[in-house]
């Protein structure tokens, strides 16, 4: 942990959830949601985190916020190890890191007005009161392109896209440096998705925000991220610059994942090579041995069953975890 330009760094993070059974609720196994991952995010950078459902993307985001008690590993934020902070210290630390949720319906309290929802974080962290508070709430409305006069309305009076804007304004209220966006546009309609993505990019510029952008839509991730990490069953299999990952994917899983996404242009799409993955993602309770992708990999050899591949730098900060690259 050294460089000044790094805002967040994760070292060998493990997050296991116990599986209990029987009358005594004894622990019988672990769900290995995150199984030893390391990465960093630079200040002002957007790191995309992609993978299929259940691969540990969301858990990783929540571990950074210390919403779970991490099994092992370190999470550094501005050089401080968050896992070592006391609850009270962590609470004030969270002012610097905020979360935007996927579901704009479930993540807003239906009994609070939009103004109260957006202003609440400022009250919790004692950042503003009285006239100043009101002015700041109005300013936050304008930032996310909503009209301040809507602040007396309740969530159900807003559309999905507008609610997502309220969620974004709430995250911005405490002037954080890091925002973890957990599938922020996947619940929205196509034409509304673009509106919210462009808003997030504008805010990033304006406030020099750092994003961890978690999503399963690979096209959206390419568009918004500077670098992208691909996760499979709790591990990172490839991490590199966004355009490099999409133009030159090296890991067989990344290649298969990208080829599965149909491109909205039939002429271009017909010319692409397709790799069809067979089977489903295995259970993270009993992940396959060695490289946990080997049962579905078309390039697997015997040694893949035994040895876990480490992330290796293939040049130009293009990291891949595969024996066969």
């Amino acid at each position: 942990m050294a460089r000044d330009d790094v805002l967040v760094e994760i070292e060998n993070l493990h997050m296991y959830f116990p599986v209990t059974a029987g009358v005594l609720q004894r622990k019988v196994a672990n769900v290995k949601a995150v199984d030893g991952i390391s990465f960093y995010i630079k200040r002002g950078e957007t790191l995309g985190l992609v993978g299929e459902s259940g691969c540990g993307k969301t858990t990783t985001g929540r571990c950074i916020l210390q919403l779970y008690e991490v099994t092992s590993g370190k999470v550094f934020f501005e050089g401080k190890d968050l896992c070592k902070l006391k609850a009270g210290e962590m609470r004030s630390m969270r002012r610097n890191m905020q979360l935007i949720f996927q579901d704009p319906y479930a993540s807003l309290d239906p009994r609070m007005t939009a103004g109260d929802i957006i202003g609440e974080p400022m009250l919790v962290h004692h950042l503003a009161k009285g006239k100043e508070y009101k002015e700041q709430v109005a300013e936050l409305f304008r930032m996310v392109e909503l009209e301040p006069r809507m602040s007396d309305r309740y969530p159900h009076e807003f559309s999905g896209g507008q609610r997502q804007r309220i969620g974004i304004a709430r995250a911005l209220a405490v002037k954080p440096s890091l925002i973890i966006c957990d599938e922020p546009v996947s619940a929205l309609d196509v034409s509304i998705q673009a509106q919210v993505i462009i808003l997030l990019m504008k805010l990033r510029e304006e406030f020099n925000l750092t994003y961890l952008f978690i999503a399963h839509d690979l096209s959206v991730v390419r568009y918004i991220s500077d670098r992208v990490a691909v996760m499979y069953l709790g591990r990172i299999v490839e991490i590199t610059d966004s355009d490099e990952l999409y133009d030159n994917p090296l890991h067989p899983y990344t290649q298969a994942l990208l080829s599965a996404v149909p491109i909205p242009d039939p002429v271009v799409d017909r010319q692409r090579k397709r790799i069809l993955l067979t089977g489903d993602v295995p259970s993270p309770v009993f992940p396959p041995s060695g490289c946990n992708f080997h049962p579905r990999c078309h390039r697997a050899i015997d040694s893949c069953k035994e040895h876990v591949p480490e992330l290796r730098n293939m040049g130009g900060e293009h990291w891949v975890a595969c024996h066969r690259v």
């Binding site: 673009a194 993505i197 149909p262 909205p264 039939p266 799409d269 692409r272 489903d280």
Partner: protein
């Protein structure tokens, strides 16, 4: 709105939520709950017969047997307390008059067809024992059990991951070429449409705004809504330097549609005429129709 599907053809029905995609498909099967819904007028001609005129009994014979449907949520479409065997054989016994044993054999065959490994054993399982992707395969197997002439798939892959989406659509494409089933895919995913269908219908606020062959629609979109939609999706194959543009505003409330063209408040090409008159679908090319007064000028 009006549209047609040829025998053995695959047609995409594209649009945003609440634009009427699903309702238009449910009307084909007369599955709109009444009240409150009512089909006010029009015809649904299937193989020369108007489905809106036949009796409920005849309709029941058509549903599942000649026209089948797959829904978005396989979890809620399968009965959780019945085994897969029971659910698959039901339509075989009902529509194809098979006895229990033949139906069970046929069910095994169907599961194999949609790529479920270990079919004999899996047949005895219950829906919760399958993943979302597997459940959707079972739905496809069920829909195909009576060799329907038309398969309607309503957002069949919205709740699954991209890799599973590719598997499911590949299965459907193979079955189509094998049995010559016509397919309507209802989706909001412009990529799925580009890869898997022959012809596309674009819907906006309950109306058809553009229809064309897939290549023509993507290569030369003529309706401002289609143009806007295509420009607003980030593309996997294009660098971050290509900027996406946005369609301003929100889709209208269907109970309070604006006067004239429904898209006009969000349209950057709108002229005063769009405010007053509703544009009809007009021919703009070979098999290419668009409902916009200015389509001719928008041509590439």
């Amino acid at each position: 709105m009006s549209y047609y599907i040829n025998k053995g053809e695959s047609v995409g029905l594209v649009g945003e939520s609440a634009c009427g995609k699903s309702v238009s498909a449910l009307s084909i099967l007369r599955l709109i709950p009444y009240p409150p819904g009512i089909i006010v007028g029009g015809e649904v001609i299937f193989n020369g017969q108007d489905l809106l005129q036949i009796s409920e009994k005849e309709m029941r014979h058509t549903r599942g047997n000649r026209i089948a449907m797959i829904f978005q949520e396989p979890t809620t479409s399968l009965n959780p307390v019945l085994s897969i065997k029971r659910q698959l054989s039901e339509s075989l016994e009902l529509h194809r008059g098979m006895d229990k044993n033949t139906a069970a054999e046929e069910s095994t065959k169907l599961l194999k067809l949609v790529g479920i490994p270990d079919a004999e054993r899996r047949l005895e399982n219950y829906p919760y024992q399958f993943s979302g992707g597997m459940q959707q395969r079972i739905m496809i197997a069920m829909a195909l059990s009576c060799n329907p002439e038309l398969l309607i798939a309503d957002e069949p892959t919205t709740s699954v991951d991209v890799t599973v989406q590719a598997q499911l659509l590949e299965i459907m494409a193979n079955l189509r070429s094998q049995f010559g089933t016509a397919v309507i895919i209802i989706t909001h995913n412009l990529g799925v449409v580009a890869r898997y269908v022959d012809r596309v219908n674009v819907m906006y606020a309950g109306q058809l705004v553009e229809t064309a062959t897939t290549d023509a629609l993507y290569g030369n979109p003529m309706h401002p809504y289609t143009i806007g939609l295509l420009a607003s999706v980030p593309r996997l194959d294009l660098s971050r330097k290509r900027k996406v543009s946005i369609i301003k505003g929100l889709p209208p409330n269907l109970a309070r549609l604006p006067k004239g063209c429904a898209f006009q408040p969000r349209c950057e090409y709108a002229i005063s005429r769009c405010n007053e008159e509703k544009p009809e679908l007009k021919k703009v090319g070979k098999d290419h129709y668009s409902a916009c007064f200015r389509s001719g000028e928008l041509q590439k």
